[in-house]
Symmetry: C2
């Protein structure tokens, strides 16, 4: 059996989790989980982070409706990073863009490569 | 102009960087950079991390030959996480697997979904 306590958490009890759109492979965002958030994500199938600013569980999309349905959770070789394959409803980013990684560095300058959704 | 000092680093002066295979979208690994590693990555086109264990710059593949050629570096909305689109030579993981995320959690158990390369 998988035990969330078997993962390696940082000094704050947190582990980073990458959310990747299962259908397209697009990397959407990175946020943090504690052991309980990992357990809730697996139990509910709704990706649940720990909000460092609010110091509270953060069921992604709970207020915005932009939920992340878990397709599969993966663990890396060092057990200190997670990869969540998700089915994202609407934009993942709080700026209303599909992904948080909408800024590219090209020829030494920042270029916005993704617009907010309508 | 993009200035690596404009990113948000943690208390240790580090920022996490996801390496994603540019051709396939596969997430390969996550490692850390400091501002100088970001600058070197952009200047050389060879993805360069900061090794927390060795406390030294880590030009990915320098000893193994499994280099990561940078296709594009992206910054997230909070400026505290990087996404490097790369062309990976050979396996990215030190276990000789293509990706470090070779363990999936399925039905509450850990399943190895990727074998070491030959």
């Amino acid at each position: 059996m998988f035990d969330p306590a078997s993962l390696k958490y940082d000094a704050n009890g947190l582990i980073p989790c990458i959310a990747q759109e299962a259908a397209t492979g697009e990397v959407l965002m990175v946020a943090w989980m504690n052991a309980e958030a990992v357990a809730r994500t697996l139990a509910t199938g709704r990706v649940t982070y720990w909000s460092r600013s609010r110091r509270a569980f953060w069921v992604k999309g709970e207020s915005s409706g932009h939920v992340q349905e878990l397709a599969e959770l993966r663990v890396d070789c060092d057990r200190d990073c997670l990869l969540a394959l998700v089915r994202q409803s609407g934009p993942a980013c709080h700026t209303n863009r599909r992904s948080c990684f909408f800024t590219a560095i090209r020829d030494g300058a920042e270029v916005e490569i993704m617009q907010p959704e309508g």
